[in-house]
């Protein structure tokens, strides 16, 4: 359940940004979560509501933008799509993949008042 601490980090960032960007209520949060980021979207939603309760983002809507996993295949010399860390290259079946997208956990955008 590290999603709980991730949501607490999100709240920290929202509070810090509230001071910098001068808002007092957050109504919607867009998170960009990579398919390889070890975050479970459902757990994130569950924890998000619990953590935001009573804060400036109480009842804020959470939108999760899922980013596909991508890796560079050393054998094929090209980028391929993967769903899991242990996926083989869909083109050549090799394991020599260097992940280059899909690991992110970012706050992308906020709707604030």
């Amino acid at each position: 359940m590290h999603e709980m601490s991730l949501c607490e980090s999100v709240l920290d960032i929202l509070e810090q940004q509230a001071r910098e960007q001068n808002y007092c209520k957050v109504t919607k949060v867009w998170l960009e979560i990579g398919a390889l980021s070890s975050v479970e979207a459902d757990a994130m939603r569950f924890c998000f509501d619990a953590v935001m309760q009573g804060s400036l983002a109480d009842k804020a809507r959470l939108e999760i933008i899922t980013v596909q996993g991508r890796a560079w295949c050393l054998q094929c010399n090209k980028n391929v799509l993967i769903e899991q860390r242990y996926d083989v290259c869909p083109a050549c079946g090799g394991f020599q993949l260097q992940v280059n997208d899909g690991e992110q956990m970012r706050i992308k955008e906020l709707e604030v008042e």
Binding site: S5, L6, L36, E111
Partner: protein
């Protein structure tokens, strides 16, 4: 009171080397954001606006981790983040390693568990410094806790700091503590498909230790298959097989430690 940050983190408790107990209070959120125009509702006009943030959720942890990494590098300390499921033998491996090496070099240990100081007590019984972090409900150690632990532990220059993470193959994978390497320990009493079941952890680790190999004759554990799975998830991973209990294979672990320490000291020599 924290000198780094004036923090508060749920139910976390970090042992102190001096007398007073440092209890982190319940996280509190303040809601004072100054006075904006926000409460002046005008009918028909929405005050909603969009704010682009583009901030990494783990940015704060990563900042603390990079602070810890600087500290380790300035002091020539090799820090290793030991991760595994509960019961794989992390603490036994550490006590055996300490018994072998404590006359040659300084070792200290940061222990992470939800509750109790049992592990730190076991380490202290070997005669080296240990500090327990109880994470309360927390499922992993974070870089911020490690920063505070270092303030109290004050590890010696050119030493090794082992960080024994909470027994959990999921959450600790995402939290950089500033260590040189994550070392994943897997015992042969578990399934050989653990690297596939918990790929994030084996992907994040630089070394996998297959522990309890003295039990191989008694369990159905396919070593070759396990190694193949681990390499599938992480082609760069190095793998050692040993038994902390019988001592078999432990010399290769000591060699790996010495090699990693030498690399850390190369960096250190550059900075002094």
């Amino acid at each position: 009171m924290c000198s780094v940050c004036g923090c508060s983190e749920g139910e976390t408790t970090i042992e102190h080397s001096h007398e007073h107990e440092h209890h982190h209070g319940k996280h509190s959120h303040t809601h004072d954001y100054g006075s904006g125009a926000a409460h002046a509702h005008a009918p028909g006009l929405s005050q909603a606006r969009m704010v682009q943030i583009e901030q990494d959720i783990l940015a704060k942890n990563n900042q603390y981790a990079s602070g810890n990494r600087d500290y380790f590098s300035k002091h020539g300390i090799l820090a290793l983040n030991m991760v595994s499921s509960p019961g794989s033998g992390k603490t036994s491996l550490l006590t055996e390693t300490i018994a072998l090496l404590k006359d040659q070099l300084d070792i200290s240990v940061i222990e992470g568990d939800q509750q109790t100081t049992h592990d730190a007590d076991r380490i202290r019984a070997t005669g080296v410094k240990a500090l327990q972090i109880n994470t309360g409900k927390g499922c992993h150690l974070d870089a911020h806790q490690i920063g505070h632990a270092l303030e109290n532990l004050k590890p010696a220059t050119e030493s090794i700091v082992f960080i024994e993470n909470v027994g959990n193959l999921v959450c600790p994978a995402s939290f950089d503590l500033g260590e040189a390497h994550k070392v994943a320990i897997l015992s042969v009493t578990e399934g050989e498909d653990k690297p596939l079941k918990y790929p994030d952890m084996f992907y994040a680790a630089d070394l996998m230790i297959l522990n309890k190999i003295d039990l191989l004759p008694y369990v159905d554990f396919d070593v070759e298959q396990c190694i193949q799975y681990a390499k599938q998830v992480n082609p760069r991973i190095k793998i050692l097989q040993l038994s902390a209990k019988s001592g078999a294979g432990i010399e290769s672990w000591v060699q790996w430690l010495n090699a990693s320490r030498a690399m850390q000291l190369v960096d250190y020599a550059r900075t002094i």
